[in-house]
Structures are given as structure tokens and as C-alpha cells.
């Protein structure tokens, strides 16, 4: 039995990678841990573990109002972003027109621009138009900013689609309209679901743009933000932990759908396509 030559495994790199992983996960792990701590947030170690904070959370009506508001905004944002994002993706995939490159950049801009810029611009616009700040303005802000997410996902889905299917449909006598509903959309089913999930999660967690467009009714992140001003309580840990858990669940589902639909061969490329090129 021969001895293997110098191994390429580098223990130093492995340890370093492990440390980076710990850095990424530790804070939230601590946060979750302390949501069960009777003594509150801080100090070490957490001694008495309890569900009290969760009980308090579930009795907190203001939080649940905020959750409801967030859900409404998120659902509406999904509808708006998906519709416009689908059209934008189709346009980028199939049409040529002057200023197309500019259009593409403009659509993707909110993704790379700091949220404050988009938020403030929309605020100025609302004031200029005389519109009062409310959940409606929040919805318009989310919907507009998240078109970029929808466009990216759906564009990737269109690129992977077999063009010949649409040609076959037309060849067999279907009109472009029928072809869209019978062939194009079903092919995009997975992309649509994936995009929808992502937009929903991002809208639920959105804070930067929302900050400037919020009226009297709070979304969940803004509600938490307001409480932070009054002081830290483990109840905030509890709701944060729940947000984290639900978001992680949704994102895992999103990822599974995406790599299944778009071809698991190149997961790096699939997920990276969420960024402007």
C-alpha cells in the first residue's frame, strides 16, 4: 500500500474557514439563546431558561398588528414586483429598443444603491405629489425596489428555457397570447415561485427604504426598531429569533426551488445572478 504524496488539504485554511463560519452564525445563535434567558439580555452565562418572553410576545398585540401590516405589504409587493418584473424580463430577453441598456441598469439600480437613497427619493416624490405617508407608500416603495429581484430571477429562468417550445406552439397554431399562457408561463413556474419567495422575505425584513416611507401603521421591522429606542428586552430577542427562523426556512425553500428549476449544475452562478452584472 503506497503512502499518498503531499496532501493538498491545508489544516490552516480549514480552521480559518471554520472560524469565519462561526463569526457568521455566532451572533444570531447568541441572540436566540438569550431569548430564553430569564435575566434578560446581557451578562454571562444565561442561567434560567424560560419561555416567558415568547409568552409575552404572543400576547403583544402591537407586534401582531405590525406583523399583519407587513404581511399585507409583502403580499402586495410580491404581486406588483412579479408582474412588472416578468414584463421587464421579457422585454430584456426579447425586445431591442433605444435605451435598453440604460433601462436594464435602472431596473437593477435599487439592488446596489444604498437603501437611503431610494427611500429618500421616493419620500420626496410622495411629498411632491402630495401623497400622505402610509402603508400604501411603503408598498409602492417595496414593490418598485424589488422589481430588480424579480427581473433577475425571471430573466435567468427565460434564458434557460427552451426557445423551440414557443416556436413549436406557434407552429401548431397557437397565438402569441396563447403561447404565453400555455407554454411560457408554465416554464417559468419555478422561477416565479422562487422570485416570489425571495421578494416576500425581503419585503418582510425591509427596513432602509421603509424607514422613510412609513406612516402611522408600522411594519414589523419598524415596530421592533421603535422599541429598540425604548430599551432592549428579551421579547425583542424572541421576535427576532422567530423572524430569523421563518426567514431561514423560506430562504432554504427558495434555494431548493431555484437550483432544482434552473439546473443544479452551477449553484454559484444561479445565486450570484441575484446581483447586477
Amino acid at each position: 500500500m503506497s503512502r499518498p504524496a503531499q496532501l493538498r488539504r491545508s489544516p490552516l485554511l480549514t480552521i480559518y474557514a471554520a472560524l469565519v463560519f462561526i463569526f457568521i452564525y455566532l451572533p444570531v445563535a447568541v441572540l436566540i439563546l438569550y431569548s430564553f434567558n430569564r435575566e434578560g439580555v446581557g451578562g454571562f452565562p444565561p442561567r434560567h431558561l424560560t419561555f416567558d418572553w415568547y409568552r409575552q410576545l404572543f400576547a403583544d398585540s402591537a407586534i401582531w398588528d405590525a406583523v399583519l401590516n407587513s404581511l399585507m405589504v409583502a403580499a402586495a409587493s410580491v404581486a406588483l414586483s412579479l408582474t412588472l418584473g416578468l414584463l421587464a424580463a421579457l422585454a430584456l430577453d426579447r425586445a431591442t429598443f433605444p435605451g435598453k441598456s440604460l433601462f436594464r441598469r435602472l431596473v437593477l439600480l435599487p439592488l446596489i444603491l444604498p437603501g437611503i437613497i431610494t427611500g429618500l427619493s421616493l419620500l420626496m416624490f410622495a411629498v411632491f405629489a402630495g401623497a400622505p405617508l402610509s402603508l400604501l407608500t411603503v408598498f409602492l416603495g417595496h414593490g418598485t425596489a424589488l422589481i430588480s429581484v424579480a427581473t433577475t430571477e425571471l430573466f435567468a429562468g427565460l434564458q434557460k428555457m427552451d426557445r423551440a417550445q414557443e416556436e413549436a406552439s406557434l407552429d401548431l397554431g397557437a397565438t402569441p397570447w396563447q403561447t404565453f399562457w400555455r407554454v411560457t408561463l408554465p416554464n417559468l413556474k419555478l422561477s416565479l415561485i422562487a422570485a416570489g419567495l425571495l421578494i416576500f422575505t425581503l419585503s418582510m425584513d425591509e427596513i432602509a427604504v421603509t424607514f422613510f416611507l412609513i406612516g402611522r401603521d408600522n411594519t414589523l421591522p419598524l415596530e421592533i426598531w421603535g422599541r429598540l429606542r425604548r430599551g432592549i428586552t428579551p421579547e425583542i430577542n424572541a421576535v427576532s429569533s422567530l423572524i430569523f427562523a421563518v426567514s431561514v426556512g423560506l430562504i432554504i425553500i427558495w434555494y431548493r426551488i431555484r437550483t432544482r428549476g434552473l439546473g443544479a449544475k452551477d449553484p454559484a452562478e444561479n445565486a450570484f445572478k441575484a446581483f447586477p452584472e
Binding site: 500500500m1 503506497s2 503512502r3 499518498p4 504524496a5 503531499q6
Partner: protein
């Protein structure tokens, strides 16, 4: 433990004159045995080809010699020193990759100079050796181009120069011509052969194309399912295939299955005098060894059979006939003859019916 160490003078190769010795090498991936205890030697200055279908293990064996994989069992020695325990960058072996693997961010010149730069060779020496290598492959004019601007054939030359500039003891070529079109392939085969002769470097060449193997090699090592079927010169392997597989893979043949009994070989409707141990036997009979009886008798002892013509394929200098002899389909190659019909008598020299292992 080491097989070669059984030699009292530890460190000397088991076979003098051999540059590379592969001793009982096996390789397993998971539960798949890709190579099953291969042993062979390569002489210095030899052009040895590893020939086989995909999955035969030929590329794996090459990669073991290059150092990109470790053998699960066995050892590899080069020039009397243990090779398989060395990492690739310490072996005096260089590889020409199947898809060339040229560095896209470096010019042709810098690609070729890569190994010299890594060794911190002086700039003056680098310049000279790179120019020499480029001249060898006729790529001096394109020295400052990027690989992406070159054609497949040009990239292949650069890959060759890059490997040769190092003056390796052994050059490994992993199906380097398979991506080229037919004409370019023939041309490159000729150039490769000439280059090898001129430089005297030992070549270990991998291909699935048996014509290519026969044209280029000093010896061919035929691999099948991870095992070495036969290793011999092209003429030897063609004229005296050891197994049925070899006979079929290299060139075309008719495999005749039957029995030897009482000094006669009987395969279907054919029979001829044959010696050798009795029992079941398989014979390889090349199509060109069979002739029409009407074309005249042969000097050697011949066997004769009667068959019906089923198909005739004309190919310029020769004809390929498919004939039916008592239910057995045989292929016969004769020189251009004009259309034939019906039944004919055929003869072949008994010596041309080679007994092979199944």
C-alpha cells in the same frame, strides 16, 4: 514492502534501461475499480501509447503518472526513484492536456515561460529557451497573442511547447489530437512523431483511436476495463493479437468460435488442420487474409470454404464483402474486383487463423 526493493541494490530499477516502471498499480474510486493491478515499463526514448475505450482506465493511469491521483495499490518508479509519492510539481514529468489548459490571462510567451518563471530562472535564459520551444512548434510569430485568439491547432502547439520547455524526462499526452478535425489531426500526428524522434524524449500517449496508435507508437498498451490486454509493437499486436478483444479492437477481424479436436479446428461450417490443446477455441482471422479461390492458389497451406455473398462495399482500392458461410457471417477484404454475385469459394492461409483467448 516495496516491490522493487526486493532487489538487493535498493533503488535500482527492476528492469535496467526502463525509464518508467509501473508496478502492480491499482486505482479505486469509491467502490469502482478503475485500474486493476497494471504493470508495465517504458523504455527511455520510447513512444508508448495507452489505447482503450472510454472507461478503460487509460486516462486514470496517465493521471497517476502525472501525479493528479494517488494509486490505491502498487508503486511507480522513474529512473530508479520512487515517483508516486512525489507531488506533481516535483516530478520530472510534464503533461499536454486534452483541452490544452492554456492560461487565459497570459500570453503565449508567458504560458510557455510559466515553468521557468516558477523556478525563478534568469530572464536571459527564459527568453532563449522560450524562443527555442516556440520554434520547435512553429509558433514564434504568435508569441504575444492571447490563447483565446488562437485556433485549436495553434493552442495545441503552445501546450506542447509549454510542456517541452522544461525538458522533462517523460512527456504525457492526454488525447491531445481528439479535438482537432481530421485533416489537422493527420498533420499533427506527423509533426508529433517527427518531434519525438528529433528530441528523443519519452512519450506516453493516450488515445482511443487505434489507427492513431498504430501510426505513431513504438509500442501499444491496450487497456480494457482497467486491465492490460496486451502490450506489443503495432505490427506485433496486429499480426498476433493475444485476446479476442485485442483482435477486434485493433483493425477488423472475424472471430471464429469452435473446437479443436483430433488435429482439426472446427468453427461452424469452416474447418482446417490445427494443433494445440483440444477443447473450445476462438480464432481471429483478418478480412484481408481471406481471398477468392478463383484468384489463384496460395503458396501456403490453405483452408477452403464456400459462402454466399450478402453485401459488397466498394471503397476505392479494395472491396469489403460480407459473406454467409453456413449461417456464419464473415467479412472478406479483397482488392477492387467489380461487382460479384451469388456463391463463391474462399481460401485463407491456415497460419493466418490466430488462436486467441476469449
Amino acid at each position: 514492502m516495496s516491490l522493487a526493493a526486493s532487489n538487493p541494490q535498493h533503488g535500482l530499477s527492476a528492469t535496467p534501461g526502463a525509464l518508467l516502471e509501473v508496478l502492480g498499480v491499482a486505482k479505486r474510486f469509491g467502490d469502482r475499480e478503475v485500474l486493476k493491478h497494471i504493470s508495465l515499463n517504458i523504455a527511455s526514448g520510447e513512444f508508448l501509447t495507452l489505447l482503450g475505450e472510454s472507461g478503460s482506465g487509460k486516462t486514470t493511469l496517465l493521471r497517476l503518472v502525472a501525479g493528479f491521483e494517488q494509486p490505491t495499490a502498487g508503486e511507480i518508479w522513474m529512473s530508479g526513484e520512487r515517483l508516486d509519492t512525489l507531488p506533481p510539481y516535483k516530478r520530472r514529468v510534464n503533461t499536454v492536456f486534452q483541452h490544452y489548459a492554456l492560461f487565459p490571462h497570459l500570453s503565449v510567451r508567458e504560458n510557455v515561460a510559466y515553468s521557468l518563471r516558477v523556478k525563478k530562472t534568469s530572464a536571459a535564459e527564459v527568453g532563449g529557451r522560450v524562443d527555442e520551444a516556440l520554434r520547435m512548434v512553429k509558433m514564434q510569430e504568435l508569441a504575444d497573442s492571447r490563447p483565446s485568439k488562437l485556433s485549436g491547432g495553434q493552442q495545441q502547439r503552445v501546450a506542447l511547447a509549454r510542456a517541452l520547455v522544461n525538458r522533462p524526462l517523460l512527456l504525457l499526452l492526454d488525447e491531445p489530437l481528439s479535438a482537432l478535425d481530421a485533416n489537422l489531426r493527420k498533420q499533427m500526428q506527423s509533426e508529433l512523431k517527427a518531434l519525438q524522434r528529433e528530441l528523443g524524449i519519452t512519450f506516453l500517449f493516450v488515445t482511443h483511436d487505434q489507427e492513431e496508435a498504430m501510426a505513431l507508437s513504438d509500442r501499444i498498451a491496450l487497456l480494457s476495463n482497467g486491465a492490460l490486454e496486451q502490450i506489443a509493437s503495432p505490427r506485433e499486436i496486429y499480426a498476433h493479437p493475444a485476446t479476442a478483444y485485442t483482435a477486434q479492437f485493433i483493425g477488423q477481424t472475424n472471430l471464429l468460435r469452435g473446437q479443436i479436436a483430433d488435429g482439426m479446428a472446427r468453427c461452424g461450417a469452416l474447418q482446417w488442420p490445427a494443433d494445440g490443446p483440444g477443447g473450445a477455441a476462438v480464432f481471429s482471422l483478418r478480412p484481408e487474409a481471406i481471398r477468392l479461390a478463383s484468384d489463384g492458389a496460395a503458396a501456403h497451406v490453405t483452408a477452403r470454404f464456400h459462402a454466399t455473398l450478402q453485401q459488397q462495399f466498394f471503397s476505392g482500392a479494395s472491396e469489403l464483402l460480407e459473406v454467409n458461410c453456413g449461417g456464419q457471417l464473415l467479412r472478406v477484404r479483397i482488392s477492387a474486383h467489380g461487382p460479384l454475385f451469388g456463391e463463391h469459394d474462399f481460401i485463407f492461409s491456415i497460419a493466418d487463423a490466430i488462436r486467441v483467448q476469449e
